[in-house]
Amino acid sequence: MDRFQFINANSAQEAVSLLNDGSTKSKIIAGGQDLLTELKEHIAKAEKLINISDVQELNYINAENGSLKVGATTTIAAIAANGEILAKNRALAEAASVVGSPQIRNQGTLGGNLCQRPRCWYYRSEAYPCLKKGGGICYALSGRNKYHAIFGGAPAYYVHPSDCATALTALGAIIHCLGPDGEKTIPSEKFFTLPSEILLPENVLKPNEMITAVEIPTHNMKSTYIKFREKESYDWAISAVAAALELDGTRCVKASIVLGGVAPKPWRAKKAEDVLQGKTITESLAEEAGEAAVDDATALSDNEYKIPLTKTLVKRAIMKLIA
């Protein structure tokens, strides 16, 4: 790991000021679960790390009048254990409960989870000068791509690794950010981006901005998150589904279906939502929604299995919500 300066910030405002003091290679660090591995592997460079993990004003869970606001340095474990979140925004609680390992959940924060860099094995190896590291090609396209994207890949075929991002997008969350020009809010839907839009990083956050909180406005949706992984003990999603449905009995008033682990950003399955909208949910309708969800999927050489797998997960998530 290259040498860097480590500065403790006392407030969000101070962190942003430090981030904007003219040096280009400053980064925010909180739990450090992703950034430190990147620094150790020489994937990321930083001259200055601004530590916000002790900024108390960023560590909170506020559930009031049906809406939810969670501070950026709240740990994943705290989100997973929160009863209010489980009751009203189950998909987020379920997503948080399956992030990484117990150690990672205890140390990792919500802001960090959303800003995670791809887990693509080519990206994570210094030896490959891939597109995401400023190089010329995406090795996954003709290399080994068992865990790679079936949606929205070009020109880089990594998948977004965040469980919470998938759940939050399905729940219509809003990301609160702080930058040199003050606060701004961005819908989760617009926050995460495809490589065809922005190659680096995986969202619209500028290098001089940071996430301060995530808000989920009041809604009447039941939600769930299903994560499929090869290893239950500790693994990233091979495919995941966050489903949020507004229901009138078993009739679907409004559907929000977002896929994880299959695209470079949380991937809204619009066609699946259309299948459900206004209909009474049955097993065959859920199956039809599953089919529709993967309608536009394109497999690479090693990841065709993700298509039937994702179809199944969509069906199961929907059925779970009317059970």
Binding site: S125, R144, K146, F228, Y305, L309
Partner: protein
Amino acid sequence: MAKQHTTVVGYEGNTQSIEYAIPENETGLWGANFDYSIVGKKNIPRLDAVEKVTGKAKYSYDINRPNMLHAVVLTCPYAHAHFEVTDTSEAEKMPGVKSIEVFDEGGKGTARFAGWLIAMAAAETIQQARDAARKIKVNYKVLPFVIDPDEAMDDASPRVNRGGNVNPPEARARDRGDVDQGFQEAEVIVEGVYTTQVQTHSCLETHGCVAEWNGDEVTVWHSTQGIWSVAGGIASGLKDLGLQQNNVRVITQYMGGGFGSKFGPEPFGVLCALVAKKVGRPVKMMLDRYTDTVYAGNKPGSKMYVKLGAKKDGKLTAIHVKAYNYPGHSGGSSVAIPFMEHYDCENIRIEEQNVMTNAGASRAFRAPGRPQGSFGIEMALEELAMKLEMDSYELKAKNVSGTTYKAVPYELKLGAEKFGWKEKSKKHGSENGKIKHGVGCAVTFWHSTGQDKGASVRCTLYPDGSVEVANGCQDLGTGQRTMMAIVAAEELGIDVGFIKVSIGDTQLGLNGPASGGSTTTPTTSPVVRNACYQAKLKLYEKIATKWKTEASDIDCKNGTVFSKSHSDKKMSWKDAAAMLRNSAITATADGFTKPDVPGSNTGAYGAQFAEVEVDTETGKVRCTRIVAVQDCGKTIAKKQAESQICGAVIQGVACALYEDRIMDNMAGRQINPNMEEYKIPGIKETPDIETVIVDVYDPVVNTGGKGLGEPPAIPTGGAIGCAVANAIGVPIRDLPITPDKVLAALQRKEG
């Protein structure tokens, strides 16, 4: 002078009385009729368990010497390249750096896989050493490489070494009977191609050592399965410095796994000692996880073309196998034994070749070649059962036979009962629903051969009753100390608490075996007995004088020394030992004499039963339960034996369902050399494991003990593979059985 003895051998329901001869200074067999006090009677916990879980036990990784330097190795990032270290000056000028050394003479050579050792940097801190290693200038001329073994077989492919990639050029064949005749006799034939993946050892403690000089003497704390081979290797590696082996001390008190990958001094072991000498300070080098994974060995993959012939009743008539083993850039393997020895068949032909690729070299891995071969034969038999519409347990039971010392039919039957096979077994693929369940079984066999000249054991009796038993072996993690203490306590007739076991140090001056091949128990346990026997006779002679009897009239049980002829003559072990006053008794036994009983064999046998659950919509397989029936001759340390079986089963589950070294086809590197994408099972992937230990009294050594590291590691993958085929009605012939393969197989079945 040899002395005649009699004893009872065999296993439950199949015992016999035998006669045998043993020299007078050695002790007779324990046997089935021996009146045990501890072995099989008391469940002795691992003696060093508390030290291990509290961190008091110091592994090589934990050794930190005053004024010590830290070293880091630099490896080649290319699969095939000529390399030359051109400039080390920048690295040498880095903060804290004390030494930059190269592995190959002149710092140049040809790297044959990505991970080849090139240079080593030593500095005040490990961080400084890491930074410095990156500043070593190496000129690479990248060469064409080959990663895929099928491509490597093509004559037009790049050559991995001098000579062809397929070795030997003509397959070596092993024959029994007449395989053509066997297929003519067959009424049914099945054929299949089975592949097994490359599995890396992934020892919790990576490879490495600490070297420290004191004058002309060097001490090396090395994470090794063989302290003597390390000592010899360090001495010969530094003979140009005038180093002789009498000035080399190697210590391995505790180690975090080896599984066959930790036998030698390693090039970095020699280099650490060299740098420590040159700089005049201790040097520590433990590989990082990446280098350990790509450099320090693996279980070779295999591709087995298997053809079985059988009668309609399921009796095998012929086995033909054409196997290719994939050991990387060097090494070799054989999958033959499970095909030849696990089931009865009179006509067998096995043809084998190694196919070299530009990948890390294979090393011994817990039963070399056996889990691969076991997967091949068990799956082929499963497919035969499917074709004959037979129950696969019935088919397999029909093709095994036993002897007084080979309990495999008994073990298979016992396992089926404990497992509940009859209730759980159903026709292949017959279950309705999306989640399907299946069962499978497999047998195992391994020669756990004791080396009769392989160990010297010293037993010292002290006047306060305490005892030291010492040998120059090391504890691979199997519980060697506990096993030795149990044997000594049983022989001496005293509590285990009296015994201290000293091992893991060449300075003991006592020859000891390397921990490999499941040989340590049969090599050391009989010598422990002989040393204790000789020491106690010396004590008994003193008591005999007092009691006016013969030493042979005296015995000790449960801490009481007594005269066999005069029951009123007795005293406590402590009082007996107190007769030594200010002296101690020492006896050293060198090796042991094999009883040499006809029919006796060194095989450890067993059978495993697996239960799986397959989600046919996601392709996920979970192994939910394993019943492992196993003998290791007469079990000496039951708790440690159970622990060995559980560890072996977990590695078998890993091989069946999870672990896979994935090589990148673009640049020829392992693309998952870490604990994230190389998927070692965690607690949620671990099935319920029930161990059933069978005692088979075999007069192979005087304790009847056989090794257990390897035998239970052989059949798990095959049993799970068969269970998956039973569940979904279609065999998955490639390990590991991951969701992508299951979904693809089901799709093919439907399509």
